[in-house]
């Protein structure tokens, strides 16, 4: 018999740990592949279609439960809505791939507008001084009132939607799915992901939820129906 501790001298931590696990699984008489795939039976598709009125309504009510602002408009109404949501903000930052009409609206009423990456990346310090950020999103989940960002061109890098105190995120109705599993299927591990459910919050003092700690203290979700 070879003693593990004696062998450990020549083995890397990696090899030792892997050997320990194999020995432990042998000791517990466990062999691989204990799982029968896909017999879990939990809901993997909602009863409502992606982007349907029912899903959109559920999403709106769940976002509102988080003390976030939630606003509905059609495609043509987005610029006017953005302008009204930005009235208290003097300096606005947007990702380079944000739709042109939205960008124009963000720059209206004499607001200073910075576009990340055009011509250059904004420094963290400068980003921290911005009042608001406007982004799109990759997907949204109705049941949990969640918006998912994947750092696409119309969303920008992660710091962009983190440092300004006011985040306005636009969600197209057809991006909204009912359930978490439906969203997971839309997302890719190739991109950094941020799931956002309401504004920054903490439950650390007596388990009471308080909105607004380190992330944006104000979250406005703009839901775009049709066109």
């Amino acid at each position: 018999m070879v003693d593990a501790t004696r062998q450990a001298g020549q083995m890397s931590a990696r090899d030792v740990i892997l050997a320990r696990i194999r020995a432990a699984n042998d000791a517990a008489s466990v062999t691989g592949a204990a799982r029968v795939p896909d017999v879990h039976g939990y809901r993997i598709a909602g009863e409502h279609l992606q982007g349907s009125d029912a899903v959109v309504d559920l999403f709106i009510s769940r976002v509102a439960d988080y003390q976030a602002g939630v606003h509905c408009t059609d495609g043509d109404g987005v610029p006017a809505l953005l302008a009204s949501l930005l009235t208290d903000d003097g300096r606005v930052v947007v990702p380079a791939g944000l739709p042109e009409p939205w960008r124009v609206a963000a720059a209206g009423d004499g607001r200073e507008l910075l576009i990340d990456g055009q011509p250059m990346t904004i420094s963290t310090r400068e980003l921290d001084e911005m009042d608001a950020v406007v982004t799109a999103c990759r997907a949204a989940i109705a049941e949990t009132g969640t918006v998912v960002l994947d750092a696409g061109d119309d969303q920008g890098r992660r710091a962009l939607s983190l440092l300004p105190d006011h985040h306005i995120v636009a969600v197209r109705a057809e991006q909204i799915v009912q359930l978490v599993p439906e969203a997971i299927r839309l997302l890719s591990a190739d991109r950094p992901l941020t799931f956002i459910s309401g504004p920054s919050a903490t439950s650390d003092i007596e388990f009471n939820r308080v909105e607004g700690v380190h992330g944006p203290r104000h979250l406005d979700v703009v839901v775009i129906k049709g066109g």
Binding site: A19, S197, I205
Partner: protein, 493 residues
Amino acid sequence: MTGVFVGMPGESVAYGTGNLQGSRSFPEAAGVALRDAQLRSNLSRATATIRAKRAAAVAELPDWERLREAASAIKTDAMSRLPELLEQLEAAVRARGGNVHWARDAVEANRIVTDLVVAKGARSVVKVKSMATQEIGLNESLLAAGIEPTETDLAELIVQLGHDFPSHIVVPAIHRNRAEIRELFVREIPGAPIGLSDEPRELAMTARAHLRELFLTARVAVSGANFAVAETGTVGVVESEGNGRMCLTLPETLITVMGIEKVLPSWRDLEVFLQVLPRSATGERMNPYTSMWSGVSPGDGPTEFHLVLLDNGRTATLADPAGRAALHCIRCSACLNVCPVYERTGGNAYGSIYPGPIGAILSPQLTGVRNKHDPNASLPFASTLCGACYDVCPVKIDIPTILVHLRAKSVDAGRRRPDSEALAFRVMAWVMSSPGRFSRAERLLRLARIFSRGGRIRRLPGPGAAWTMSRDLAAPPKETFREWWTRHGRPVR
């Protein structure tokens, strides 16, 4: 499979070290905690709040039980294929530009992290709340190397500023109420507003102002991980405040310390854990922020990523067929919040940073128990076996059964030299096997009435003292049932 043979199980078992046990047994520590009226009131209020929230969030899902089944099955599968999955995870993280390190125990993990920070020339790090780094005592190690760690989660900051010990897995400062936190902030945070009130909102704003500059200037961040997907190399952190996003996004170097049991086989497994974890932990449909990253992303976030895979007693736990399910834990704390024992004693009585029912089965398995005087030997007995923990566990860990299993193990370990308890039970068996002996014993028992007051015995002398240490004994009645029966005769039909 590898050809390496590691000897007999038991001989090769390597236990964990770090903040996994206290200096006193649970009954001793609990005795102190139970006399703290403020602590009991803070705990009872906070756990009642979260119990109601969790129950409502769970009741909303028609497939909750199916999700629990799935979570349990995924974890059982992951543990059975752990070597392959960890190798797959390592390869996937490396393929996406990350680095992977392996740590046998707390000392090795601390050395790896400290060396990485030193190599970056940083004198400070910002930290995301992490049980793994609490477990290994990373902050103490960094301080010893002249590196200043700052906890950025509000509750962890409260614990750090108060030179306190975390008493809950999700809300480490649950033992502190708003007035105590206000006092701490005024004393410890330079520039805290003079007229600071104890409103949670104001306290949170004080933390925001205090930490913002640190987030903007930190060069190295240290985090834990809620899960890592073997298939894709994706690591995830679930949080509320945005301090996690700050740490995971702004510094140029990110170091993540993760227990080896946190690995999930496939991308789709996320859909289960992203549903069960938030509802179980804070009673929310979804926590405010969840971040997921795979290695490094050019132009977005850290340029250097290190993943440290930690054993520290996990493989020892895995070797016990009945106890290994403790490793399925996703650190949601639902079992703490429903536990009648935890609610009264608080987390610090458990000695380990893993308190409550899950701590009672996890801590002694991670550290091993040398003998019955080992503080962790008392943990499996810190339960009424009421089963509430099993009912709420999102991964269906049968905590009561593992508690009983660990109790049996500790009794078996002491079998060679019978103690007073074993002796007492043997005498009892002899007495109860004869009607005459039993009747004489009953009459003898009546003598114990001299120790009673108001119908209760608070303290027995001699070896009986162990029984009355943590419970009162009802005084034996003046007359036994047999005597009453004889006096009244048989009932007339």
